[in-house]
Symmetry: C2
Subunit: 507 residues, 2 copies
Amino acid sequence: MKDMNPNGLEAVHAYWQAANYLSAGQIFLKANPLLREPLQAEHIKPRLMGHWGTCPGLNLVWAHCNRLIRNTGMRLVFIAGPGHGAPAVLSCAYLDGSFTEHYPAVTEDAEGMRLLFRQFSSPGGMPSHVSPLTPGSLHEGGELGYCLSHAFGAVFDDPGLVAVCVIGDGEAETGPLEGSWKSIHFLHPQRDGAVLPILHMNGYKIASPTILGRYSNDELIKKFSGEGYAVRIVEGSDPEDVHGHMAAAMDEAYDRIISIKRSAGKEFNSHEAGWPLIILKTPKGWTGPETLSGKQVEGSFRSHQVPLEEVKHDDIELAALEKWLRSYEPEKLFDPAGKLTAPAASNIPPAALRMGNSPYANGGNNPQPLRLPETNRYRINAHPPGTRKASATKEVGKFLRDVFVENREHNNFRLFCPDEASSNKLDAVFEVTSRCSMLPVHGPDEHIGPEGRVFEVLSEHLCQGWLEGYLLTGKHGLFATYEAFAPITDSMLTQFAKWLKGCRDTP
Amino acid sequence: MKDMNPNGLEAVHAYWQAANYLSAGQIFLKANPLLREPLQAEHIKPRLMGHWGTCPGLNLVWAHCNRLIRNTGMRLVFIAGPGHGAPAVLSCAYLDGSFTEHYPAVTEDAEGMRLLFRQFSSPGGMPSHVSPLTPGSLHEGGELGYCLSHAFGAVFDDPGLVAVCVIGDGEAETGPLEGSWKSIHFLHPQRDGAVLPILHMNGYKIASPTILGRYSNDELIKKFSGEGYAVRIVEGSDPEDVHGHMAAAMDEAYDRIISIKRSAGKEFNSHEAGWPLIILKTPKGWTGPETLSGKQVEGSFRSHQVPLEEVKHDDIELAALEKWLRSYEPEKLFDPAGKLTAPAASNIPPAALRMGNSPYANGGNNPQPLRLPETNRYRINAHPPGTRKASATKEVGKFLRDVFVENREHNNFRLFCPDEASSNKLDAVFEVTSRCSMLPVHGPDEHIGPEGRVFEVLSEHLCQGWLEGYLLTGKHGLFATYEAFAPITDSMLTQFAKWLKGCRDTP
């Protein structure tokens, strides 16, 4: 693959291969991590867990992000929509050294690799889905639909940050995800960072094809350009081709982001800005076994989870697994001690910029505490009782107004609301800020503009998702909604609470 | 408006005007329903409730549906996404006589009209949102996002039925609604009916502009044609113009539906079929007060709810209300007794086809009970205990397989599932049916095709919404999902349970 060299693609490819190897290793192996011995049933885990299908795509994106970081010094945070692809995220974080920094027992050598494999999806080890224990993570991806809203929440008020958000074409079918594309119309080109959504279409869910997977490329471009995105499709199953196209797409996306942020002026219109969207079409379970018992595995739903389920008890499957794992040539990717070698190792970004170690995924970069005014100032004198009419939420509105003022310096407070701020009598906030919109403003509109810090969209899922991403990156906010409609997002809240609980136990 | 005559548009316009009059009347008046006397504060309700803004649009669509029914004999069911526009639905059902058939006390005369107004949003009367008490309704529209999935559920397995689904541009922002557009890819051109979605863009929500309202027409066309719709935009604020364009759009939609259903063959592709979508852009609160205290009301968020809130205590507002109500010329729309006159009356469809009396909105047209096999047939002999391995859900799969077989004759059973039928071990159903898809099928796919009765989409909201629409129109189904993800739709389920409870008390 010599002609990939000029763009640093040899290193990207090797990093990808190493990550794919480690992803498969986590799913299958409990011993013989570098395949120094012929593969035996005793090297295989007793119970096979994990999702292979999405891993090669996640690894590809991560490897290309590393290249972008190396070339540009850009600060990226990685959001894996397909959170069931945790083996990929763990592999990539292990390769860049951040995993070992978090978990020193898992060293960058053969014994560490064995531990990495062994502890995956084992009691006391790493869960099979992305969790707070996963280095560089802020998004679970168990209950699907929220990766894109989390990504936008993460970059709001962080002008130098770009969230790379991988969206599976399964998750893309959910209502909350479909409703998240419009987030660009709330993204301020200077005040906020940017999101690079990468819609990873491998064409299949657990057992059936994805819907978008059966749209033509023209139809996909229409759908997403109708939403305001500048769509670029990267498609293929030949690694060399895909690396070339993907690198060009990432470079173009970077240029777009920089250019939008530089040139956006008073007449900025989020629909015309051309925020980038990459659609990546690669086979599900790419580089894995092509067929099993005459049935297609790679490029089909059969690679979704564990593609060779009977490997511990079936010699044919065991041989297929060995062939698959050896196809990555681990002896070239890792040195005799088990440490990553060049060229893959040269795809590791500078230590401070590694995505596995992102401060944004760990409570934010230099988070500032929220200043709250004395609540006594909003007290209503109710004596003698029954003599005064007053509204509790009106007073809350004044309190929130002052929260905006007191934290103005840090730009780290927002109110998210499904168009109910006024009807909930929180109007006082509009004395000091307005509703946020990057779309054209018309005559009858009130309190609206690009600088607004009140986010009104008639989507409880989007409000809650933005808030979660915003909070996890060290900022402060409130989601205000009618009591009757609060249950719409209760399952989101449960997942978020679980995440917060997990954060407490994370080193 | 003489030149509207050739297309029956004079009658449509008069029906619309009458419905607008009655909608405003329900919100404001408790007496003097036909304005025979000068309007006085004492004629005004003590507490003003209801949402005016969406009513003129809903009335317009209903009036044009009546025209289509009269011209074609098509069976339509009306789904009001903006369920807070109940005054519109109630007005239209009152005008076509179906309201009086359901509630004989509310006669088609001045006294009946007074009662219609008086009981709206009063204890024991009609709720301010569409409810089971609303004639011709099967959709609440309180918690927003589900009108389109309900519409598709309603027409599944009802080949002669068309659901006209009005979607507000507020509701269009929700995740579940954004995720519902793809339903056309599950709609069988012969086995099922059709849905005519009418995206009613009046540009504003409660207090702020809608997001789609700030997309250009080109952008809207891209977005929705990318989804597979043949988009037609009807836009304006001159009634005569809009009536002409709307009638043409409805006729074209009808022709499209008929033509798709007639010509669809083996190579049918739902993305290329060109199912119609009408985007109707008219002012919010159209025909209502233009301004109040120098601020724009018509065509702005200020017409969302009650546009003249102080009318009972403010002479200027009272005069504005009288001017507004008299602008409809009620003395021409209704005869001295208070009954609807020609030409509006000639826009009433034949009795059996009136949307206010739709059997589809009342448990279905000739619903058939579900035949269930003896559960004993699926019993597993577990004696002696602990000696056999078996799976409960596998047996359920066999049971469901036989449910499909036993009800084949009536085509009235479906399984809805977020791509978990196989992983939930319900595979046995695929011995007798398959997954439904109207998109291209590829080599590795299994058990999938246009005739399938298993609906797999990775959207719990869509599964639940389809099921609700399917059940309410007299068919049978099941939504199977992992326990962990069931809470995603719990607020939907609550609203649905409330609806079912309401149905019990409905005459």
